[in-house]
Symmetry: C2
Subunit: 335 residues, 2 copies
Amino acid sequence: MSENTQIVIRELPTDALSVTHFETKSAPMPEIGDGQLLVRTILMSLDAANRAWMQGATYREAVKPGDVMHTYSIGEIVESKAEGFAPGDIVAGEGGWASYTVMKAKAVKPISDYRPLTHHMSVLGIAGKTAYHGLLQIGDPKPGETVVVSAAAGSVGIFVGQIAKIKGARAVGIAGGPEKCAWLVDELGFDVAVDYKSKTFFKDLQAACPDGIDVYFDNVGGQILEAAMFLANLKARIVCCGAVSQYDTAEMTSPKGVPGLIVVKRLKMEGFIVMDFAKQDAQAEADLSQWYKDGKLKVVEDVLDGLESAPSGLIGLLHGENRGKRMVRVGPDSL
Amino acid sequence: MSENTQIVIRELPTDALSVTHFETKSAPMPEIGDGQLLVRTILMSLDAANRAWMQGATYREAVKPGDVMHTYSIGEIVESKAEGFAPGDIVAGEGGWASYTVMKAKAVKPISDYRPLTHHMSVLGIAGKTAYHGLLQIGDPKPGETVVVSAAAGSVGIFVGQIAKIKGARAVGIAGGPEKCAWLVDELGFDVAVDYKSKTFFKDLQAACPDGIDVYFDNVGGQILEAAMFLANLKARIVCCGAVSQYDTAEMTSPKGVPGLIVVKRLKMEGFIVMDFAKQDAQAEADLSQWYKDGKLKVVEDVLDGLESAPSGLIGLLHGENRGKRMVRVGPDSL
């Protein structure tokens, strides 16, 4: 326990991210001060947002060359200088791509007995709660309405479609490739799925939504957002959750029809991040775990092995490699 | 009373609108059927939306070559085939650029005794109610917040800024040219006004909003919308009322940062048209006329004379010629 392996940013990408933007370093074990915890990393979340942080300040500060890459992680306390926290406790919080990180006790969330731990990264974590709050608080789908979600096979998308079904709406997924699309329908119960890589994408989406779109949960931005706006019904709600099509490129494309279509169709577009709804988190966790227990909500996870798999894992995620929540298991734990 | 002068669309514009897109025709006096009214035009509204109708279907059907140009108008009934409506009654409704039009009795709004009639086109008309509903229902400004409105010297903008002040917010107007800007501050009580034609527009707007923007009431779209989104605070509301920068051109420009900035700043963008809030119209009219009587709300009108002034009047409006609500007085009435 004298050495800490870290993955740091060697250089910020100006276009597509590659593994050469990162390097692995060995650092001395960090020392902690009052109110801090030394945490051994068990699971690290991989998110499209990681790439957005490399573009500049977002809802959090930008990352810069030399920084240990930031992440949301779950780990075990190995040393504590904060009351109420003891070695062996499991906590979640803002960490880094490293075998050990320092966390502020005030900013961590203790993890309950609920196992497997991976569920705290997926259905009970940011992914599940993002889907739950965004769809229900902003999208507010009514029974019989059509809900469309992009990056539907991704960490958040799989829950958006399934929650839409639980609420009596029609769920249409947008994903890359016929296999993913078939999987969304066959395995996760989406009503239809549409391949955005197809040359007939717009027509396919139109055919998949014969009554138009009432709620569009947007994870991607760009031309898919544009297509959804053109097919949106009067008073449709657009839940702006992410813009993954815009993160890994130097070229930004805004959808046509802004603000024209917003005015004419009286659309509501609203952005959010999961922390905005922290007050409703307990309800979200209760509903999500109940639906899971009842077999109404399937949990799909994509767990990569070993700290060094993080850079290529993130790049693969930006290219749509994953199904469900992608994360990295750093420790040998079987929790 | 045997001849009806009409202005019809000769050709639809593909780029900027010009007077050659219209022609004046003489038509026989229309005959009315059951449930209809023959109405002598007194006032015709000129609106940027007139130009949008020439681009295709919007919230109403598109206009096409050969059509009498549509308008919202106020007139006097000269013949009625509908119960409850008699010659001499004053009504408002969907009319045309013509000395006489046929209106459906079910679709008109009887005009009360309140005079001058022009106020039913401005402060108590669509302009005033659009400002009232859009700002208060969607923008929802709190005392001390910064409200920015574009096309601030226009029919809706003059009321948005003044209502913002009445509600205790800071009002920042965006208008074209230093004279209009000075007028907004000196005559209408805006806190600051910023000239969008200036080369330092973005910096000027930033300086005018030291605490950022909480509510942006957008009448123009394009680069001004983009600037406002960049200066928007977390959880700012963008009221999408119109996109006049996009109407009189073949070239559409969407603001950069959609949906990126919407996500990161958790913005809400929402479109509306005045009819969406019809249930609150009575309250709007009561408040607006009370504020006017109390001297808190100035009414500015720009009344052109004669049916034939409509085409050039509309073109001028698209170029920002008007201050306050532009309309055409067709009859010789002094109502």
